[in-house]
């Protein structure tokens, strides 16, 4: 019967546990992941395996606000690159990086389903559409 045993339902949901942990206390540090593994009774490598699979689970430190700019074609066609450059300039760091003061993490992401308002980005859970380089400073100002 070992044959089927590998695929039966996991009693505890690793993904939901990780999502909750990240919503509660920010990025998934090694301590957080090890703690979750212990409380779920699963190997730490399994927890890490799930955490590292999903783009929005972060195993690296994040700033207080996360900017996620769409890099996919519909946004790219509408001068998305100019917006990305404007953000890089405003923050002083490029995509994949966090500002020195930990105020912002800047990421490029794949299509976020806002192509009718291209170019678009998310800051935390907020939607920002029809971006232009000129709008960036004003938007960023609202996030402390």
């Amino acid at each position: 019967m070992t044959k089927k045993a590998a695929r039966v339902k996991t009693p505890d949901n690793i993904l939901m546990a990780l999502q909750e942990a990240q919503a509660r206390s920010g990025p998934l540090t090694p301590e957080v992941m090890a703690g979750l593994a212990a409380s779920l009774g699963v190997p730490s490598n399994d927890v890490y395996g799930v955490a590292s699979f999903y783009s929005f689970l972060s195993i690296r430190p994040l700033g207080r606000n996360v900017i996620r700019v769409c890099q996919s074609l519909p946004c790219h066609l509408k001068e998305g690159q100019a917006v990305i450059d404007a953000i890089r300039k405003a923050l002083g760091v490029g995509p994949g990086r966090t500002t020195e003061d930990s105020r912002f993490t800047f990421e490029l992401v794949n299509c976020i389903g806002l192509c009718d308002g291209a170019p678009a980005m998310l800051i935390n859970h907020d939607v920002h559409t029809d971006l232009t380089p000129g709008k960036i400073a004003g938007i960023l100002q609202k996030y402390k």
Partner: protein, 398 residues
């Protein structure tokens, strides 16, 4: 050809946060009617309608429901797929933003027909801002007594396009890495937690209530022989009016992109997002239908200033990043294609690589485990056929 609103019937006409406004427009009437029918009758009505899945694969909805209904077992699940990760698609977002109640109603009817007491809606993380609205709609429907004996839970994704693929989605709901499963067994036999499960796209479920109310024959009266009803399109790219449009299936592509969306000077059109087809302007009169081009209805328009290699290259970069990495052809193949297309974009391509791309495309289509790898090269193969010159110009020394 004007728009025809079946799926979007309530969008803009109701307050998405207030069930009363939805009920004023026959909301939940279909659920009540369905519960007065036998589940088999409901399924039969859906089969008569000819409704096919709107998530991309176009599988007949009634047959899927029947399969799950007839699978042995007490515990069954129905899932609404709101992962909407395909590049250039945003119709499901628009639907949930404007009419979450009809989605809840459609899923409840599916649950009744299939014999499931538990439903899930898998909402992509990027749509977190819709969570309250969606949960509010479920709560209001429950409070109004429409969900007795049927529970709906919203589960959030965590940023993975492949989790829109049905088997990866189920892995994700089970809390695991979103890797695709092999089939058979199909989800209708052994799906979520190995129980019989149906998965339907948001838009598919939006069609259910009108079909139950007005009858399958009414629905089947719209569209073409193999593509019944209407389809919601997400139009983006080089168009004057990007947005969501609903048309009867079989409508010409030209009506949509030039007529409704106001595109000019078109070079090519990508239909179905990253895994979709890329066709040149001279096919603009093709009908939008399963038998020609459709996918999930993402239409991205490119004008004459756009380069083929950049579009195909960026598409491949997306797929490589989003590949789950489980199977060899997709994990390794998308990477090789990204690197190779990059060489062509820099003008450093090797002539022999054009042939190798074709060979690899065949292998990926034939042997990949899931639809991502199987369809990853659709646009590449199309453009190699229609825009071969663009590739030749990328060969080193040309």
């Amino acid at each position: 050809m004007p728009q025809e609103k079946v799926v979007l019937r309530n969008c803009g006409a109701i307050d998405p946060a207030d069930i009363k406004t939805h009920r004023a427009r026959e909301g939940f009437k279909a659920l009540e009617k369905a519960r007065g029918m036998t589940p088999e009758e409901v399924i039969s009505e859906i089969k008569t309608s000819g409704l096919r899945g709107r998530g991309g694969a176009g599988f007949p909805c009634g047959i899927k429901w029947e399969g799950a209904r007839n699978s042995p077992g007490d515990e069954k699940y129905v899932i609404g797929n709101a992962d909407e990760g395909e590049v250039g698609t945003f119709k499901d977002r628009y639907i949930i933003q404007n009419d979450p109640f009809s989605l809840v109603e459609g899923l409840a009817i599916a649950g009744y027909a299939v014999g499931a007491r538990q439903g899930y809606i898998y909402l992509r993380w990027e749509y977190s801002y819709l969570l309250d609205l969606l949960r509010g709609a479920i709560d209001q429907a429950r409070a109004a007594g429409y969900l007795d004996g049927f529970r709906i839970e919203v589960r959030q994704g965590a940023g993975a396009y492949v989790c829109g693929e049905e088997s990866a989605l189920m892995e994700s709901v089970e809390g695991k890495r979103g890797e695709a499963r092999y089939r058979p067994p199909f989800p209708t036999v052994a799906g979520l937690f190995q129980k019989p499960t149906t998965i339907n796209n948001v838009e598919t479920l939006m069609n259910v209530a009108p079909i139950v109310l007005k009858g399958g024959a009414w629905y089947a009266g719209m569209g073409t022989e193999r593509s019944r009803g209407t389809k919601v399109f997400s139009v983006s790219g080089d168009v004057a009016r990007p947005g969501v449009y609903e048309m009867v299936l079989g409508s010409p592509l030209r009506e949509l992109v030039e007529g409704l969306a106001g595109a000019k000077d078109i070079k090519m059109i990508q239909i179905g997002g990253a895994t979709g087809r890329i066709i040149p302007y001279d096919q603009i009169d093709a009908p939008l239908a399963f038998e020609s081009y459709l996918g999930a209805g993402a239409i991205t328009v490119y004008n004459r200033s756009r380069g083929v290699l950049e579009i195909v290259g960026r598409t491949m970069e997306f797929l490589a990043e989003e590949s789950c990495g489980k199977c060899t052809p997709c994990r390794q193949g998308t990477e090789w294609l990204v690197e190779t297309l990059d060489r062509f974009r820099r003008g450093e391509g090797a002539a022999r690589d054009i042939g190798y791309m074709q060979v690899l495309a065949d292998t990926m289509a034939l042997s990949s485990l899931c639809g991502l790898g199987q369809a990853a090269c659709s646009g590449l193969v199309d453009t190699l056929k229609y825009f071969r010159d663009d590739y030749d110009r990328g060969i080193s020394g040309k």
